[in-house]
Chain length 157, copies 3
Amino acid sequence: MPVTAASLDLTADLYCQIQQFYARQMQLLDDGDAGAWAGTFAPDGVFAANAHPQPTRGRDAIAAAARRAVDELAADGETRRHWLGMLAVDPRSDGSIGVRSYALIFQTRRGGQAALRLSTVCDDVLVQGDAGDWLIRYREVTRDDLPSAADTAPRSS
Amino acid sequence: MPVTAASLDLTADLYCQIQQFYARQMQLLDDGDAGAWAGTFAPDGVFAANAHPQPTRGRDAIAAAARRAVDELAADGETRRHWLGMLAVDPRSDGSIGVRSYALIFQTRRGGQAALRLSTVCDDVLVQGDAGDWLIRYREVTRDDLPSAADTAPRSS
Amino acid sequence: MPVTAASLDLTADLYCQIQQFYARQMQLLDDGDAGAWAGTFAPDGVFAANAHPQPTRGRDAIAAAARRAVDELAADGETRRHWLGMLAVDPRSDGSIGVRSYALIFQTRRGGQAALRLSTVCDDVLVQGDAGDWLIRYREVTRDDLPSAADTAPRSS
């Protein structure tokens, strides 16, 4: 691990802040507030996923993509709940925070049976905004059912 | 949000106390100890749910309802596990704590396959008892598969 | 509860350390690093389960068993995610920590549908190693679908 990303001591304050951050973030998305959800990303934040051909870059594009997803779910009478847990929080010497976690998506149709939709791993880099709040600078979501970026990356040698 | 319910600073101590509270609370219920579980509600606590026509009011009534549910599960050889997570904890200036969380119920029959039963949202108001312990004054559980109270409330205008 | 195991005050520092410990531990296992995963057990650690006829004793035996499981999953193109949550953390006066938690195992085959595999209860005793890190001295995993050790133990009276 490079010196600039060395692990620092993890405090309870930080660990709880991050847990609360994710709880609020996912509730915003699941409640359909795509704009507020996208506001938890840095203005130049990036959302990458092994389910997407290209990363989504910038808060505005992230908000637009979330808005489309929220509208489709509402049209289908579908509720999703994003559970993010098993947080390994890694404070770095540049002030950013690496977080590797697991995320599950559960879905329920009105009048239907709750079901597990997806199991994923979520790798985030968080930074602090001017107001002291945490923002996602980079998120990479790896679905367990799809090849990972590492599996499919062109060999550099 | 009214002044009397303004958000205060959330400490790690409080966040962890609430996590531990829920872990113990749900383990009591899933272990079949309906009386001790009901003891985590205030004496005048209320349990409301969009699956119930009326809220259950008071610790004694909450205990009686839980006892019936526990006995039915035991008769069926069924184990349930209540997972409560994604806690958004909101300390209020009156000393109470609002917590909005997600709760999943998993069930397993002896010799059978574990399954997801329900996905819900849990809105709690917690208060401190005389012994400094947390107690639920009001709980509202909204199942994702049923209309929410907001969806079905009579219009006030 | 005997005097030597009396509950002590639980601090946020400890609660968060334990959460982070489990996140890293389970990520090691799910990433297929059986050796590093076994390194989170004490050298004389014990892994007991109601699915196993006998406990596995010692870090080396635990590593060997995990290696076999990891290799089988890799051969099957199967990913597992161990979710451990609802932690009731109980510091004891001898410096060890009792933790009773719930653990779910989710599995996804490449190109397949994510599914819940098992619901379990996990009873751990953790001790601190020389480097200040937490180690599992004793783990007992009780699958909800199988009889528990208590159900099948010979009566002592």
